[in-house]
């Protein structure tokens, strides 16, 4: 089976997955033990409003019609509107407000670990079994084991009181920023705005990227150890290629393939784990919106957001398969999915 044929097959496989995932969401929300209308209206039961909500959500229709409408609306991307969190606001508008913050957080929490974890791993691999290697490796293991929400709590407390603790004020450093607040994403093309937005998101991105930073370090270390004695590296050295170039040109590429699942896996964690980090840092992103919608019983908003998350994860999966297909010529159906 050709590489692209395999890729196409993987993409086709995503269709039933979106369908099934959305169906499960429907079953939980509409067939499960909660009454969506009662959840929306809360304990202050007002029969007229209750009937109105039931009517407009179509809850009195037969279940299969409800299901067909639910699927039709979502698959045609008519996401409806919020009922409780921001009453009457369309879900698309809400996503437009909350989404960029999560994207910004996600972007940096993928990028920063790569730029910290990989070089550290390379360093450890080039100096194996030295004290520095042990410290780096053990640090990576411990760093990976830290619960994100706990790390976030520590970061927030230490940074908000950095002045008293270290005589260094994180809030005033370089550009003035708040620590527990959504980042200001307007005018990113201006250097100070960009720096401010980056600084505001930096601690949260470090926390969210902690798990993958440990993994990336391990991958970098293994890649160096595996290739250090390979013939082509010896050859390059014998030819007089400078050491730095050997690392980046020959060893780095080996590290790229195992890096893909870590990065895409990181994107998954980001979708799910951002709830906690966004709550602690008050970033008000998509995870936080989903959490608020859930605990407030905003059933239509929850359904639409879950559908978006399913689309996103499926998109990430396709991206991963695409990257594999492009980078690693060995990928095929036999090579294992």
């Amino acid at each position: 089976m050709g590489r692209w044929e395999y890729f196409l097959k993987r993409v086709l496989l995503m269709v039933p997955i979106v369908f099934l995932g959305t169906t499960v969401t429907f079953l939980i929300l509409r067939v499960g033990p909660i009454d969506p209308a009662a959840a929306i209206i809360g304990p202050s039961g007002d029969t007229e409003a209750y009937a109105a909500i039931r009517d407009s959500l179509g809850l009195d229709q037969p279940l299969w019609i409800q299901y067909a409408e639910f699927m039709r609306d979502l698959l045609t991307l008519q996401l409806g509107e919020s009922w409780v969190v921001v009453r009457g606001q369309s879900v698309w508008e809400l996503v437009g407000v909350y989404g960029p913050r999560t994207l910004w957080l996600g972007f940096w929490s993928i990028l920063i670990p790569i730029f910290v974890g990989l070089p550290l791993g390379f360093y450890a691999g080039l100096n194996p079994n030295t004290l520095a290697d042990y410290i780096a490796s053990f640090g990576g293991i411990v760093w990976r084991a830290m619960p994100n929400f706990w790390l976030a709590v520590i970061f927030v407390s230490v940074l908000t009181q950095s002045d008293a603790l270290f005589g260094f004020s994180w809030g005033d450093w370089l550009v003035e920023t708040q620590i527990v607040t959504p980042p200001d994403l307007s005018g990113l093309w201006e250097p100070t705005q960009f720096l401010g937005a980056l600084k505001a998101i930096l601690p949260a991105a470090l926390v969210l990227g902690s798990a993958s930073m440990g993994n990336e370090m391990r991958i970098g270390r293994t890649a160096v150890l595996e290739t250090k004695n390979a013939n082509y590296v010896e050859m390059a050295k014998a030819k007089g290629v400078p050491g730095r170039l050997v690392v980046w040109k020959h060893m780095f590429r080996i590290a790229l393939i195992p890096l893909i699942p870590v990065i895409t896996g990181e994107a998954f964690l980001l979708l799910g784990g951002s709830v906690l980090v966004e709550t602690v840092f008050a970033i008000n992103g998509l995870g936080y919106l989903f959490f608020q919608a859930t605990i407030n019983g905003d059933v239509p908003l929850v359904g639409s957001l879950m559908f978006l998350f399913i689309l996103l994860s499926v998109g990430i999966n396709i991206l991963q398969d695409f990257l594999y297909t492009v980078i690693d010529p060995r990928v095929g159906y036999d090579g294992g999915a």
Partner: protein, 507 residues
């Protein structure tokens, strides 16, 4: 891993258990009980030691085993015949709990008060700190003795009673024994399990007295001003021993409060004892984690067997089902589902623990299944599977006898990794105020309670639970690494794609 009866290859092995002096040739075909009767010495010594260990904890073991079934419910099922028996067993369980054991709170009592002439109420007049430390030491010595006795029993079996003098499993065990990182993990994990198992006696006080019903229990203390012993509700005492960062409002780790209660980890913001809270929380985490792992593992193993045996469409179906579940972010899915189920009867079982376990199980199986799918596919291509098929063996038997044993080891690796993840996930949910209901202790709630005080003198409330989670998750990861290296030293599974199993859905 070859067939387990491959005795011949033993001759090429070098191991510590090669000396065969006490294993006569004639024993080969006898059942184990016969082999023991022929050479009862080692087994008898071992059994005697085990008997002593059991006797030391007899009451706790009996009541522990008998108090698991809900006797009232069982009795109501068949009134008349079963009811008196059930009632009797329930009484036995209660009486058993009253029997003294070496780890009872009453044997080494750490509750007392200090008068000018010394400590009153504690065992031997020791200070509460020393008495508590002594009890903890006894509990851990007792538990680790069990571990050693278990290992000793295994070596006795291997040396004196097992028919083949070498099996491939021996190599796995020997490799693990030399894997110091894995042993470190095993030690941590075992210590955590002991903490969960002995939670009620480990704490300096009890959950009932200190956390759940503080206004139904009283303690005595010595009042310096009146010079008399007075009594106070635990709830009122807790009100005076809060840890809230500023001024005198702090009882830190290893400190006494003004009622002479010792707090190994300090107190919570509401004045309750953090160590008691943590020990009890360990029990909740471990129980929920293991249950969810049982559910996820059951699904994963059954699916792995089916997909490896039938391949094709069955495989595709499970891929789609698994991917659909994984397409929904785990933590968000659990938040949603636990909200939906919050008003049903199932949410009340074990204070919401059962729902959490089921949800983590349902969302966790695809990752586990992916982890064992490769090895399962590999083994399904072996000749002996073909042979079994052509002999007309039923598929179920083939899977159980010839495929499952090969995959179990790989399953253990990921079970160990994902248990750490589930513990983090549960803590994350209770940090958000979801999952296990208050006031039942859960670690995440301690982190949440201590959040405003991290950078103050009451730092212990958030930091200690977090550090414990880090240590335990590291322990589970190390154990997983050790098992992996022991099973398959050449493999590089566990690197890359499935690392995120250990991350608890990003909590």
């Amino acid at each position: 891993m070859g067939a387990d009866t491959d005795v011949g290859s033993g001759s090429t092995r070098t191991g510590e258990f090669r000396e065969e002096a006490s294993r006569p040739e004639g024993d080969r075909d006898l059942p184990l009980s016969e082999r023991i009767t022929r050479n009862p010495g080692p087994a008898a010594t071992w059994a005697a030691v085990v008997a002593v260990l059991i006797a030391a904890e007899f009451g706790a073991i009996v009541s522990g085993l008998l108090s698991v079934p809900p006797w009232g419910w069982v009795g109501g099922l068949v009134p008349g015949v079963v009811e008196p028996v059930a009632a009797l067993l329930a009484t036995v369980a209660e009486r058993g709990a009253e029997l003294p054991t070496i780890t009872s709170r009453s044997v080494i009592d750490n509750t007392g008060y200090q008068t000018p002439s010394g400590w009153e109420g504690t065992t031997l007049g020791l200070s509460p700190a020393v008495a508590w430390a002594l009890r903890v030491a006894v509990i851990y010595t007792y538990s680790f003795t069990w571990l050693l006795v278990g290992w000793w029993g295994y070596t006795l079996y291997r040396r004196h009673y097992r028919i083949p003098d070498w099996t491939p499993r021996d190599d796995v065990v020997n490799r693990f024994r030399r894997h110091s990182w894995g042993l470190f993990g095993l030690t941590i994990v075992f210590a955590f399990v002991v903490m969960a198992l002995f939670a009620p006696v480990l704490g300096p006080t009890t959950v009932d007295q200190n956390i759940e019903n503080p206004y139904e229990n009283r303690i005595d203390y010595y009042n310096d001003e009146t010079g008399q012993v007075e009594s106070i509700f635990v709830g009122e005492a807790n009100g005076d021993t809060q840890s809230r960062g500023q001024g005198d409002n702090n009882v830190g780790p290893l400190e006494y409060d003004q009622y002479d209660r010792f707090h190994p980890f300090g107190t919570l913001p509401d004045g309750k004892d953090l160590f008691t809270f943590m020990a009890s929380g360990a029990r909740v985490s471990l129980l929920v984690g293991l249950t969810s792992l049982g559910i996820a593992g059951g699904f994963a193993m059954v699916f792995a067997m089916l997909t490896a045996y039938y391949k094709g469409l069955v495989d595709l179906g499970v891929v789609i089902a698994g991917d659909s579940i994984q397409a929904m972010p785990q933590l968000l899915f659990i938040i949603l589902a636990s909200f939906v189920l919050s008003d049903t009867w199932i949410a009340e079982v074990y204070n919401g623990g059962l729902v959490l376990a089921i949800l983590f199980g349902i969302t966790g199986w695809p990752a586990l299944w992916r982890a064992v799918r490769g090895p399962a596919l590999q083994v399904s291509e072996r000749e002996w599977i073909d042979a079994a098929k052509s002999y007309g063996q039923r598929p179920r038997v083939t899977m159980q006898k010839h495929m499952l044993p090969y995959v179990v080891g790989y399953f253990l690796i990921y079970a160990s990794l994902s248990l750490g993840g589930v513990i983090i996930g549960i803590a994350g949910l209770s940090f958000l105020g979801l999952g296990i209901e208050a006031p039942v202790p859960e670690w995440g709630r301690a982190v949440s309670a201590g959040q405003p005080y991290v950078a103050t003198q009451s730092w212990h409330i958030s930091l200690i639970p977090g550090i414990l989670v880090v240590i335990i998750v590291t322990g589970f990861n190390a154990l997983g690494d050790g098992v992996r290296d022991a099973i398959d030293p050449e493999s590089d599974i566990g690197d890359g794609g499935n690392e995120n199993v250990a991350a608890g859905g990003g909590a």
